[in-house]
């Protein structure tokens, strides 16, 4: 039966070490079996990472470094000749009022948009987390703006915000508001862009926070219920602290991605009117492709890069602190 072969070990390979002896012998003489030696396979695995590093480096890091070099030159497409001018660009840019205006726009836009998105998104996440009938329908609806291209959503809004014949003005007319040229009016253009950005990105915050809410543990809440804690107390001392990591994560993503907003601005206002919606990212594009000042605009891009880099380093430190705080308290 099954177990008998053990005694004589005649049927199956494993019982006889003959294979082992002959295999080792072949290995010593460097036979072809060396090719399938899997002993060090884990050591060789790490080389699979190389293409994934090489391509982004080639298409991303190297151009960036080259661009940094540009920022130390006076390269302008309208003027022949390229010379090294050291940090002159950087000094000049700090005296350029258009640069500072762009910085201001960046801060205003990002601050307002992200602030609203965090609040609104958290609120929507809360709504979505309630157990009501048809919850799946609402949760799926939220996903849609996330997948539609931001440019396309911005264009949709451009259609709606038309001064005459635009449906937004029509609806607001019921509230007694006159027709406003939302995107071209200096006093409303940035605000309109904020609205568009909020529309596009709130679902992201909502989804992230919603997922965070779903993964909250039940036990603390049950304990609080037994203790008879009030709703507000529960929110302040249980929900909020436990959601902190996810909220910070959402903030990190939104802040960083918002600082480099480009497509929705370009598609709707091209940075106008009078550069009132030009943030730093768009500023570098315009200086390059409209004025040809590649070296100079690269300076702006580099500064933006440094801003984002510094901010993300700091935010990520905050985030990891909040996460370790969470896990250690468990």
């Amino acid at each position: 039966m099954l177990l008998l072969p053990f005694a004589g070990c005649s049927l199956f390979e494993d019982c006889y070490p003959l294979n082992i002896k002959s295999w080792s012998a072949t290995k010593k003489s460097g036979g072809t079996l060396n090719l399938i030696s899997e002993v060090d396979s884990s050591m060789k695995l790490k080389f699979l990472v190389i293409p994934a590093i090489v391509i982004p480096v080639a298409v991303g890091v190297i151009p960036f470094l080259i661009g940094l070099i540009f920022s130390f030159t006076d390269w302008n497409l309208t003027v022949p000749g390229v010379h090294f001018i050291g940090i002159q660009n950087y000094i000049e840019i700090l005296r350029d009022s258009s640069f500072w205006e762009a910085v201001l726009v960046t801060i205003e836009f990002t601050g307002l948009a992200v602030g609203i998105e965090m609040l609104l998104g958290s609120f929507v996440a809360f709504l979505l987390s309630r157990n009501v009938r048809g919850q799946w329908f609402f949760r799926s609806i939220i996903l849609i703006p996330l997948t539609v291209a931001p440019v396309l959503s911005a264009l949709m809004w451009k259609l709606m915000l038309a001064p005459t014949g635009g449906v937004i003005n029509y609806l607001l007319g019921f509230l007694g508001m006159p027709n406003v040229a939302w995107l071209s009016n200096p006093s409303t253009s940035l605000l309109s862009l904020v609205v568009i950005d909020v529309y596009i990105n709130t679902p992201f915050v909502a989804l992230l926070v919603f997922a965070g809410i779903q993964s909250l543990p039940l036990e603390p809440y049950e304990a609080a219920q037994v203790d008879g804690a009030s709703g507000w107390f529960v929110f302040k001392s249980l929900t909020l602290p436990m959601l902190k990591p996810i909220l910070i994560l959402a903030l990190v993503f939104r802040l960083i991605l918002s600082l480099k907003t480009f497509d929705i601005i370009y598609a709707t206002t091209r940075g106008g009117p009078a550069a009132l919606t030009t943030n730093l990212h768009l500023w570098s594009y315009i200086n390059s492709f409209q004025y040809g000042a590649i070296g100079y605009s690269m300076t702006g891009a580099a500064i933006l890069f440094i801003m984002i880099f510094a901010l993300s380093m700091w935010l990520i430190k905050v985030w990891s602190r909040s996460v370790s705080y969470m896990t250690s308290s468990q």
Binding site: M1, L2, L3, P5, F6, A7, C9, L11, F12, E13, D14, C15, P17, N19, I20, K21, W23, S24, K27, S37, E38, V39, S41
Partner: protein, 374 residues
């Protein structure tokens, strides 16, 4: 009995942690060797080194007198069960058990009919033949464990490596499986290396016990050796529940006899006892080797204690008692103690049950019992 597996001076570190620090042992055909130790002792690492899942920093591993250090796992004649069973979740029980037989290295040897026959027979042996079409997620813990076992049996390896196979089963099932495995491995004449942290399991199953602590072997021997003649304090206290009591003691010579003096009581060790009397010693005595004498009279030789608590465990009683110096000892009795907390009684024990350890090195010096040397 042929020697199947030999491990010589195995060393493995992970970063600064020395998981395995110079281990040497051997296993014979048909023998169950149990590696016993607490968590983190290096038991699993040792198993993985034998299996080839890790490479040792130093040392050699021999299988049937051939060095297998350079062989990849799939070339070694070892089969292993994992603590979490490691069943393939997307395959049926049948495919899980058949998996080793279908490996390309062996493909030429087994036809599909062979595979079916072997798997079904193995399943019948483990009483899981009705579950062959199920997926692992549809099985209970005990069933999964048997599937994992089946996967190793099917390979007919030279060495079975079992990593805490019954640790996650409930108590009743664990007892049953202990007996089952003793039976199965009894019929199979391969070497078995069994890893556990449960000393009872080790005592019940093992032909040879290897006690491991912090990557180093503390003692190798039969269950009798390890239980009755532990080589150091660690081994003595690890095998036993409640663990052995240790009391500070000193050696004195009186009238040609050597006594050990503990808490005012003198225990005779005999005449020709070759011990360094100047060393401080620790007296070790198992809770099950102590008994309670009532009253202050009686044979005189005993330790004065005050009863603290009595824990009834069905047909057994664990009594915790306090010595005058503040130290606590536990006594295990098979009958009702007839005392109550707060009582002052005398606890006695036989010299033949005494173990002496060096207070500093913690090595055993002397064991009562058949032979007197430690």
């Amino acid at each position: 009995m042929r020697e199947v597996l030999k491990v010589v001076n195995l060393k493995k570190s992970f970063g600064k942690i020395k998981a395995v620090n110079g281990i040497t042992f051997s296993c014979n055909e048909g023998e169950i060797s149990v590696i016993l130790g607490p968590t983190g002792a290096g038991k699993t690492t040792t198993l993985r080194l034998i299996a080839g899942l890790e490479q040792p920093d130093e040392g050699e591993i021999y299988l049937d007198d051939t060095i297998i250090n350079d062989l990849p796992p799939f070339r070694r004649s070892c089969a292993m069960t994992f603590e979490d069973y490691a069943l393939y979740p997307h395959m049926s029980v049948f495919d899980n058990i058949a998996s080793p037989l279908r490996a390309p290295v062996r493909r030429k040897q087994f036809t599909p009919e062979d595979v079916r026959r072997i798997v079904v027979e193995t399943a019948k042996l483990l009483e899981i033949d009705k579950l062959l079409d199920r997926k692992p997620s549809e099985l209970s813990g005990g069933q999964r464990q048997r599937v994992a076992l089946g996967r190793t049996l099917v390979r007919k390896p030279r060495v079975f490596l079992l990593d805490e196979p019954i640790a996650h089963l409930d108590a009743a099932l664990r007892h049953r499986m202990r007996a089952e495995m003793k039976r199965i491995f009894g019929e199979v004449k391969t070497a078995v290396v069994y890893v556990t942290h449960d000393y009872l399991e080790a005592l019940a199953l093992a032909d040879k016990i290897i006690v491991l602590r912090n990557g180093e072997i503390q003692q190798t021997g039969t269950p009798q050796d390890v239980y009755f003649k532990p080589t150091n304090v660690f081994v003595a206290s690890f095998l036993g529940d409640p663990p052995m009591n240790f009391l500070e003691a000193a050696l004195v010579r009186k009238d040609g006899h050597v006594f050990v003096k503990v808490d005012g009581m003198l225990v005779s060790l005999g005449e020709d006892v070759d011990l360094d009397l100047s060393r401080k010693v620790m007296l070790g005595i198992r809770p099950s080797d102590m008994y309670i004498l009532k009253g202050d009279n009686g044979g005189g030789s005993g330790i004065k204690v005050t009863i603290r608590t009595i824990e009834p465990l069905g047909n057994r009683y664990i009594v915790t008692a306090l010595l005058s110096g503040g130290k606590m000892i536990k006594i295990k009795l098979e009958h009702r103690p007839g005392v109550a907390p707060g009582d002052k009684v005398i606890v006695g024990f036989l010299p033949s049950d005494v173990h002496l350890f060096d207070a500093q090195t913690e090595r055993a010096l002397w064991h009562g019992g058949e032979s007197n040397r430690g």
